[in-house]
């Protein structure tokens, strides 16, 4: 994909670039710490889960150039397993989240090794089809509760001492998980491994001729992305105390694409901004019912035709910095 990184940026001194990212990060953390005093904490927690989900998705599309149209599979199944293990087996929240995450990792390994066998547009169709298959499994399996989903999931005691029924404690835990995930993704992108991923995005054939086993890199990136999407889904199940078919169905896969696209593909902060924007929009537009679908579609079309860089991408381009 072209025009993801504008050329003038690369020529600027690197000190300024790191500063821009650090400043943006500090602003983000400060905003997330102050925000619960001004708006519903539950909304913010949900938004942080989706932000992590979108960041995980962005790791694939933004830095490897792979469009997965089935990320709801990892988000949703992690959500189911976290909810089920917490409710039926009485797992404490940390173990429940780990169970969900491990499920997503395994699903990511299987789906990823199938999907990377084809390139480009086929990759998107394969991931979508595999996600739809797992949606049907979720629909038919007994433990998922079918149309009702798994409701009233206990939040429980974190590490046996922290009561997550307390909104403040829950908020801090979600904030920590989100920031840890965010920094982990940042670390991946800026590691030698991340540089190879970007090389694959720019020119896979060239990367192969340089001796990189690109399939293996793509698979690792896919599993990482699925796992982090799993962390987000599992955390969401604990926060909202609910896992349902909505989380595994294809519109969810489309939603995470939309969040990332609105914020800016291949930007570090874009998915975070995008997911807050889209969730806020859904809350505000809830009364208009089905029109939300139409508005989402219009945003998709507008983003693709007019703002391919997304909010953060345009901002970074305008300020000539990297975000």
């Amino acid at each position: 994909m072209e025009q993801r990184v504008a050329d003038p940026i690369a020529r600027q001194p690197s000190a300024l670039r790191t500063h821009a990212e650090t400043i943006a990060f500090v602003v983000m953390v400060a905003a997330l710490m102050v925000a619960p005093f001004f708006t519903y904490p539950l909304f913010l927690m949900q938004a942080m889960c989706f932000a992590l989900f979108a960041c995980a998705f962005n790791l694939l599309i933004g830095y490897v150039g792979l469009l997965s149209f089935g990320h709801a599979l990892y988000f949703g199944w992690a959500s189911y397993l976290a909810a089920y293990s917490a409710k039926a087996w009485g797992f404490p929240p940390e173990l429940a989240i780990l169970t969900g995450t491990a499920t997503a990792a395994v699903c990511g390994l299987v789906a990823g090794s199938l999907a990377i066998r084809r390139q480009g547009i086929y990759f998107a169709m394969i991931t979508l089809a595999l996600a739809q298959m797992m949606y049907f499994f979720a629909l038919q399996a007994k433990f998922t509760g079918g149309e009702d989903g798994i409701q009233a999931v206990p939040r429980g005691l974190l590490f046996g001492i922290i009561d997550l029924r307390n909104e403040v404690a829950m908020y801090i835990v979600v904030l920590v998980i989100f920031l840890a995930g965010f920094l982990f993704i940042y670390r991946i992108i800026h590691s030698p491994f991340g540089e190879v991923l970007k090389a694959i995005r720019e020119n896979e054939t060239r990367a192969i001729s340089l001796g990189y086993k690109t399939d293996r890199y793509k698979l690792v990136a896919f599993v990482l992305s699925a796992t982090l999407a799993g962390v987000a889904g599992a955390t969401k199940a604990i926060v909202l105390q609910l896992a349902s078919l909505t989380d595994v169905n294809w519109p969810m896969s489309g939603e995470v694409v939309l969040m990332t696209l609105v914020g800016g593909l291949g930007t570090i902060f874009g998915p975070v901004v995008g997911s807050f924007v889209i969730l806020l929009m859904q809350y505000k537009l809830a009364p208009v019912g089905e029109w939300v679908l139409v508005i989402q579609g219009v945003i998709f079309v507008a983003c693709v035709l007019l703002f391919r860089r997304g909010v953060i991408g345009e901002l970074a381009n305008w300020l000539r910095i990297k975000l």
């Binding site: 999907a115 547009i121 739809q132 298959m133 089905e290 679908l293 989402q296």
Partner: protein, 295 residues
């Protein structure tokens, strides 16, 4: 009545027939996707929504202008095809130089818009569309009862599929099309208006989807979400068959429809997922797809 593998033959042939019907739609839709992809290099995510539009166009034509099934079979695809051409001129044409993924994202957005609007005006419950007078009733074949309409769907779908194959592979127009896919600049140098050809191709592909939609209206209910789930299955069909070959798309479409129908008889729990499982197996054994060339 006799039994095959412990299954009553009527049930078996009944499901086989349903499989062939579903296969007709898979074939028509994957054919449209392949034609569009060949010329525009875009995966048309709104194909399912345009199929649904075809069915709704037939429904609305009947309700408000009294046009019955037969005229609708021509008028609805033309109308939907024209909207497709407008979309191509207004939006898609700006994406040809970009990564393929943007085409997928844009048409996904269009699908959301179309489905959302339909849901707003018609709710998510299905609307009935009756079988045309001339095709009611059926034939008793001795081993099963064959409703006329279903036989017509299979025959019409096969005719359209092979007609399209013939035009693209065996006529001068098709030769121009294929040449324009390979090297648009050279074909333009011969005085052929390639951009117009692209617009018409998209219009034709969309019209095929709408045609399938009209044919589907009496079989299934007309509902806003009839396209979105179908299109994902069709994507799997396309992955299995590969989009390189038109004949391949037709054979895969019908074949998978039949396999799905048989699964409904022998292992009903898996009937929703069998096509996806086959896709996974094909990816393991023949990553390029059954009729695809390795890219």
């Amino acid at each position: 009545m006799f039994e095959i593998f412990g299954i009553p033959s009527t049930a078996l042939f009944g499901q086989l027939l349903i499989g062939l019907i579903n296969g007709s739609f898979y074939a028509l839709l994957s054919l449209g996707l392949a034609v569009i992809f060949g010329m525009l290099n875009i995966i048309n995510f709104s194909h399912g929504a345009q199929y649904m539009l075809g069915a709704f166009a037939a429904y609305l034509l009947l309700q408000y202008s009294g046009l019955g099934y037969w005229p609708a079979l021509i008028v609805a695809p033309v109308l939907v095809g024209i909207t497709g051409m407008i979309v191509e001129r207004l939006m898609l044409q700006w994406l040809y130089k970009l990564d393929h993924l943007y085409g997928l994202l844009l048409t996904f957005g269009l699908a959301l818009i179309i489905e959302g609007v339909a849901r707003n005006y018609f709710g998510s419950a299905g609307l009935p569309y009756t079988v045309p007078e001339s095709l009611r009733g059926g034939q008793n074949l001795g081993f099963m009862f064959l409703p006329n309409y279903r036989a017509w769907v299979i025959v019409a779908s096969l005719t359209i599929c092979f007609g399209t194959w013939f035009v693209i592979e065996r006529t001068r127009l098709g030769a121009n099309l294929r040449a324009a896919t390979e090297n648009p600049t050279l074909v333009r140098a011969f005085g052929i208006n390639v951009p117009r050809m692209i617009t018409l191709t998209y219009g034709f592909g969309v019209a095929l989807a709408a045609f399938a939609g009209v044919m589907a209206a009496p079989v299934y209910n007309v509902s806003p979400q009839m396209g979105s789930e179908l299109i994902i299955v069709v994507f799997a069909v396309v992955v299995i068959g590969g989009m390189g070959s038109i004949l391949g798309a037709i054979i895969t479409g019908f074949g998978l429809g039949v396999i799905e129908g048989l699964t409904k008889v022998f292992f009903p729990e898996a009937s929703n997922t069998v096509i996806f499982v086959i896709m996974a197996i094909v990816l393991l054994v023949r990553p390029a797809g059954l009729f695809g060339r390795r890219t």
